[in-house]
């Protein structure tokens, strides 16, 4: 069994410093790894990234993250990644990592992902260049997620995204904004590996549990959804 802690959408800034720390310091007792599902900062500034580093860095468990749309708002996502990396937080984007745990090798592949909507009600790469580039951004992201999931050599495989791969975990959000919350292309990528578990954030008013068409369990760990410092998933071999 591998114990996975996860949270997303912590939207850090100086006003939150120390808020998560007491619960985080207890992580080694209950988890082998902490996954951060994007929107780590409020709007992607260096100061906010330093707050993330201070709050979520230097823990006794490995910390693996993807960025979210908020972390891109400052147009300097590389700077956010650099600050996080300096504190030992590994940021995935079209890449994967394998970590050894007492319960086996855990592989995590991550992308931020993007929107577009879900099967039958989604955007198509058609018409204006802005529309085509919107849809192609998601296609490209999904392709990289699929490839990095498939390349993982591990016992259990987890997909980490910010945007949602299924509509199930959006229940509670207005239907009108589903296309801005995720894309079925991410779900298709997760099923292509397949992953044993998919973790995402972004949908603050969504719900916790869903499943891909291929049967992979999906969990929305956006902080306002889980209402704890993190969720813990005990993942067993043969899961998924």
């Amino acid at each position: 069994m591998i114990r996975i802690a996860a949270v997303g959408d912590v939207h850090m800034d100086v006003d939150l410093l120390g808020r998560y720390r007491p619960a985080l310091l207890e992580l080694p007792e209950c988890a082998d790894v902490l996954l951060l599902a994007g929107d780590l900062t409020r709007h992607g500034s260096r100061r906010e990234a330093q707050c993330v580093a201070q709050e979520f860095g230097g823990l006794q468990v490995p910390v693996i993250a993807v960025l979210g749309n908020h972390d891109h708002h400052g147009d300097e996502p590389d700077q956010v990644v650099e600050v996080l990396a300096a504190s030992g937080i590994q940021v995935l984007e079209g890449s994967g990592v394998v970590i050894g745990t007492p319960g086996g090798r855990l592989g995590v592949a991550g992308v931020k992902g993007f929107g577009g909507g879900f099967a039958g009600r989604c955007a198509s790469a058609f018409g204006e260049p802005e529309m085509k580039s919107f849809v192609r951004t998601t296609e490209h992201s999904a392709e990289r997620l699929s490839k990095s999931l498939q390349e993982l050599e591990c016992d259990l495989r987890v997909a980490l995204t910010h945007y949602a791969p299924v509509p199930d975990t959006l229940v509670g959000e207005p239907l009108e904004i589903y296309p801005f919350l995720g894309s079925y292309l991410l779900g298709e990528a997760i099923d292509s590996a397949p992953a044993d578990l998919a973790i995402h954030g972004h949908a603050h008013a969504g719900s916790e549990r869903g499943v891909t068409p291929g049967g992979v369990r999906v969990r929305n760990v956006a902080h306002p959804v889980i209402k704890h410092a993190y969720s813990i998933f005990n993942l067993d071999h043969g899961a998924g």
Binding site: C30, G74, A205, H223, D236
Partner: protein
């Protein structure tokens, strides 16, 4: 900031301001218009953010009472793990 003449536009511009002002960057707040008052609902990470949001929204509805029903999300450790087998 200009006050929109109709409540619906006021709501839209308040929502845009909450999302696009980097010092707030809050999406997903619910602004509910009721008879003679406006209620703001949602979940944020600090009391400071809760009060700032209410203040900004109130500026868009100068003729209404604005009620702040935003809550700060808890950060305790979870009581149990989910077993996935």
């Amino acid at each position: 900031m200009k006050h929109a003449e109709h409540d619906e536009y006021a709501e839209a511009s308040a929502q845009r301001e909450l999302a696009e002002d980097g010092g707030i960057a809050e999406q997903g707040m619910e602004i509910v218009r009721r008879d003679g008052c406006v209620v703001i609902r949602g979940e944020v990470e600090s009391e400071h953010r809760r009060d700032l949001i209410a203040q900004r929204v109130a500026a868009h509805f100068p003729h209404c009472e604005v009620r702040n029903d935003i809550v700060v999300v808890r950060v305790g450790r979870p009581m149990e793990a989910e077993e996935l087998a």
